[in-house]
């Protein structure tokens, strides 16, 4: 038997007049990706390119694949994509490359490094480590246990954050890591897990919430239990809501990425690849820990809800 | 005969490729019991459904007291005083007998609670028990859903419902088919009483002795058309059977 896409291998005619870019984020309705989209759009405009964004409804490869293959028909010059699985998305993304479309990875990347021209991301595992250090600093030398709230088992980004956190928190002898709870990425479940954990582990001193929904749920759970501020809550990302929660004390710290820069760099690399400029294979962007104290200095990392 | 109370002219009704009614006509006057008879599948039930708003005929006209009416739903028919006992019993199997009797005509409580829509269940149960007594319906328990009742009990409830509410015409599609001897007599008595109250009664039955005993007139349907009409006393059992089977043709069947 042959291979799919073999026949339709519409020659890699990368037309220099083609100024169309496509951004395929990991999921729609997510401030992180909206901020990235803002960065992409601003930079593309500056460089004379147009961008269309097509996001899957859910952060998973079976929702993202049809978008990737659908985009093929539009023959954009380059695609900026956050692959939702480092293996499953290799097949569809290879089709893009085979069709002569330049592929740039933003936020996440494939195991197979032969497909993308460039990968721009912050390191999620690193983010988890940063969360652990931040939390440890917040609790000082108090003894107690900490909890991680994860989304859905198998989600690559949040799993990496948990992994980094777990490794790093082990370095603090006064802190016991009691493991992670999955929340189905649902704020209500997240709140429920927090109040239940408070009951079984009254010595809870910290929570690391690996994304927006888990963070919002955790803040609600702590509010219900009257433990806001007593249990240190470290969130991931810096959506406008999370930032205002940080300000009012619902969160004690946020681990922020720099989505706008990821987007901007993505466009730059795409343009370089299209115009024969020099392409950097891997770019790591900043990860910062934002607390109430340093939030004014770090405000450039705050995510946007619209451009 | 003066203007009939209810009259149907040349009703036609198709179900896909099946022609259930092929131009059937019919009339009933106030204070009259008319039996509608015919072979299985002759179209009797379809006819009744058209006359009670449960189905809409494809063509033909229906007149109430001489005025053409459009029965777009059973609600319209009921509001015109037309009640029906359907052959495929139109009861809610999960509700109890009293609830079924009062379905669509619930009694509400007095005062504010009633205005809020609260039902007077005790009163409905009491009155239902009375009505069932009148028809000789024997129930071991009033609290079981009607789906758990015996076939005859279920049928009695449906009959009771129609006679309680009718003000102009009652259609009864095989009301006695499942009834015991005693209950059947009671229902025939009730039919007579209803007739005497000036209401038109249309009875569908395959029981010829019953038809002959209770009807003022008999109309015969065959293959979706009226083929014969008889006055009470004028028809013998043989005539009726002959008309139903096609051996005897009275009306013009083109």
């Amino acid at each position: 038997g042959g291979q799919v896409g073999q026949s339709g291998g519409s020659s890699g005619s990368s037309n220099a007049d083609n100024k169309n870019l496509v951004l395929i984020p990991g999921v729609s309705a997510e401030p992180f990706y909206i901020s990235m989209q803002c960065g992409v759009e601003a930079e593309a405009k500056a460089k004379g390119y147009t961008v269309k964004t097509q996001a899957p409804q859910k952060f998973n490869p079976s929702d993202q694949t049809p978008i990737v293959t659908g985009i093929l028909a539009n023959k954009p010059a380059a695609v900026l994509i956050a692959p939702t699985d480092d293996k499953a998305m290799a097949g569809p993304m290879k089709q893009l490359k085979d069709a002569g479309i330049k592929v740039i990875e933003v936020d996440t990347s494939l195991q197979d490094t032969s497909i993308a021209e460039s990968s721009i991301s912050s390191n999620n595992e690193q983010g988890g480590k940063l969360a652990a250090d931040t939390l440890a600093k917040l609790v000082g030398d108090k003894k107690g246990s900490v909890l991680v709230l994860n989304t859905v088992a198998g989600t690559s980004t949040t799993d990496a954050r948990e992994k980094g956190f777990k490794e790093e928190i082990a370095k603090y002898p006064n802190i016991t890591y009691i493991g992670q709870q999955y929340t189905d990425n649902d704020a209500a479940q997240s709140a429920q897990k927090v109040t239940a954990t408070l009951s079984s582990n009254p010595d809870l001193i910290g929570i690391f919430a690996t994304n927006l929904n888990t963070g919002e749920g955790a803040a609600t759970g702590l509010r219900t239990a009257g433990k806001t501020g007593q249990v240190n809550l470290v969130g991931f990302d810096a959506s406008p809501k999370e930032v205002s929660d940080l300000k009012d004390g619902s969160f004690q710290a946020l681990i922020a990425q720099d989505p706008a820069t990821i987007g901007k760099d993505g466009v730059d690399q795409a343009v370089a690849a299209l115009t024969g400029g020099s392409v950097t294979r891997n770019i790591a962007t900043d990860l910062v820990s934002i607390t109430k104290d340093n939030m004014d200095q770090q405000s450039k990392y705050f995510y946007k809800s619209s451009c | 005969m003066s203007t009939p109370l209810l009259e149907a002219r040349s009703l036609v009704k198709h179900y896909g490729s099946v022609e259930a009614l092929r131009g059937a006509s019919f009339e009933v006057s106030a204070g009259e019991v008319v039996s509608l008879i015919g072979d299985n599948g002759a179209g009797k039930s379809t006819f009744i459904k058209c006359l009670s708003g449960a189905e809409q005929p494809d063509s033909g006209e229906i007149l109430l007291e001489g005025k053409q009416i459009h029965l777009d739903s059973p609600t319209t028919a009921r509001s015109l005083g037309i009640e029906t006992v359907y052959q495929d019993l139109a009861v809610a199997p999960d509700l109890d007998p009293a609830a079924n009797l009062y379905l669509g005509r619930e009694i509400k409580r007095k005062g504010i609670l009633g205005a809020l829509g609260m039902l007077d269940k005790a009163e409905m149960r009491r009155r239902a028990t009375e009505e069932f007594g009148r028809l000789g319906v024997t129930l071991q328990s009033v609290e079981v859903p009607i789906g758990a009742l015996s076939g005859g009990q279920r049928q009695s409830v449906a009959v009771a419902r129609s006679v309680v509410w009718a003000s102009k015409v009652v259609f009864m599609d095989e009301p006695t088919a499942a009834l015991g001897v005693v209950q059947r007599e009671r229902v025939l008595d009730v039919i007579r009483k209803v007739r005497d109250a000036g209401i038109g009664v249309v009875l569908i039955s395959h029981n010829m002795p019953e038809v002959l005993s209770v009807s003022d007139r008999v109309e015969v349907l065959r293959l979706g058309k009226r083929v014969a009409r008889f006055k009470a006393g004028e028809a013998s059992l043989e005539d009726l059977v002959g008309a139903m089977t096609g051996a005897l043709v009275q009306e013009d069947v083109s």
Binding site: S28, A29, E30, P31, I34, A153, G179, Q180, Q181, D184, N185, D186, A187, A188, A191, Q192, T195, A196, T197, S199, S200, N213, E216, G217, T220, R223, T224, S239, P240, K241, S244, S305, S306 | A54, P74, T75, R78, S79, Y86, A90, V91, A92, P93, D94, L95, L103, G104, R105, E106, K108, L116, G117, L119, K121, G133, G136, T138, L139, Q140, R161
Partner: protein, 342 residues
């Protein structure tokens, strides 16, 4: 032809004890009780602890409000998959309205604005209900398709309104009163809301004409139609009820989470349906009760809470929940069957 009626068995009313034992909700209520007791024995400080019970009630109140509406829908033999998205949509319109009335930021808004926000939430929910109801009852499109459509569409519409990210400002007064406040000497306001909704729902379903028509339509829609019940109208009202309660749930959720939790409600529909069915309401319509639903909603809630408290392995949790759910219904069935035999 002789008439008889003396020997006719009397129309007996069942004794209270028998009615209780016969009540469809008794056995499943016992299951719930047993669960609480078992968790209480395993971890005495855990679930039986008053604070924990309070949390449990608060955390279940939004779902309960949705499930009350769902009970009516399912009794008509319909289904409403749109509840979670309508909840989100209503929360968004409500939050946006409150912000608009407060010049963009409603954080310090007063009660006038909050009340308008509540009304907007209810009206938004009702609007989706009307749409669902008309398509289902008038255009006769299967409820599953219609509400699966509005499940997607309501969320999409909400995201359109906000550009895909949560609305971040809402009145602090709302969060402090409805969201985390208490009433009547310590009962959380969320719980009071849910309890009132459940009580009114139970009353409406079991004692009023509206409730009776709901049962009748689910039991036999044709029969209901033929007895002159305005089936179309009633069905529309039932979906409107579900929509309004989703709107209320959206408002409660907004107060509770202090944000619109856009992407958190994709499984609310299945959770609500499961609660309703656990509580003894049949998916085929005609039977069911709000009390059953209340119990049915709390069983998985207690399980989830209990398993987290006693520290069951995360991957075992859904397995354990499944086992207990199935066992609970099975016990309920066996008991009911035994009762019917006797």
């Amino acid at each position: 032809m002789t008439t008889v009626s003396e020997s006719v068995a009397p129309l007996e009313k069942q004794s209270f004890g028998r009615r209780l034992a016969g009540a469809n909700t008794l056995w499943i209520a016992l299951v719930l009780l047993a669960l609480v007791v078992v968790f209480g024995i395993i971890d005495p400080g855990g679930i039986l602890n008053l604070t924990n019970l309070q949390y449990l009630l608060i955390e279940t109140s939004v779902l309960l409000v949705l499930s009350v509406g769902m009970t009516f829908v399912i009794i008509t033999s319909g289904i409403d998959l749109s509840v979670g998205s309508v909840l989100v949509f209503s929360g968004i319109t409500s939050a946006l309205a409150m912000n608009a009335l407060s010049g963009g930021d409603s954080t310090d808004a007063g009660w006038g604005v909050i009340i308008v926000g509540g009304v907007v939430a209810l009206v938004s929910g009702a609007a989706w209900g009307v749409l669902n109801g008309l398509l289902i009852a008038r255009a006769k499109i299967p409820a599953l398709i219609v509400t699966l459509g509005s499940f997607g569409a309501a969320l999409g519409a909400g995201e359109l309104l906000t550009g895909g990210s949560d609305v971040r400002t809402m009145p602090t007064a709302l969060a402090r009163s409805l969201g985390s406040g208490t009433l009547l000497g310590g009962i959380p306001t969320m719980v009071v809301f849910a309890a009132v909704v459940a009580a009114i729902g139970a009353w409406l379903l079991s004692t009023t004409r509206f409730g009776r028509y709901t049962y009748a339509i689910g039991s036999n829609e044709v029969a209901a139609q033929r007895t002159g019940i305005g089936v179309t109208r009633h069905l529309v009202l039932v979906y409107v009820l579900s929509g309004v309660l989703s709107g209320l749930a959206g408002f409660m959720s907004l107060a509770y989470f202090t944000t619109t939790t856009l992407t958190s409600h994709s499984t609310d529909n299945l959770n609500a349906i499961a609660g309703v069915v656990l509580g003894g309401t049949s998916l085929f319509g005609g039977v069911g009760s709000v009390i059953g639903t209340v119990i049915g909603v709390f069983i998985p809630a207690v399980l989830n809470k209990g398993f987290t408290i006693i520290g069951v392995n995360v991957f075992w949790q859904p397995i354990a929940v499944a086992i207990v759910l199935v066992a609970a219904v099975w016990f309920d069935q066996v008991r009911r069957r035994a009762r019917n035999q006797r």
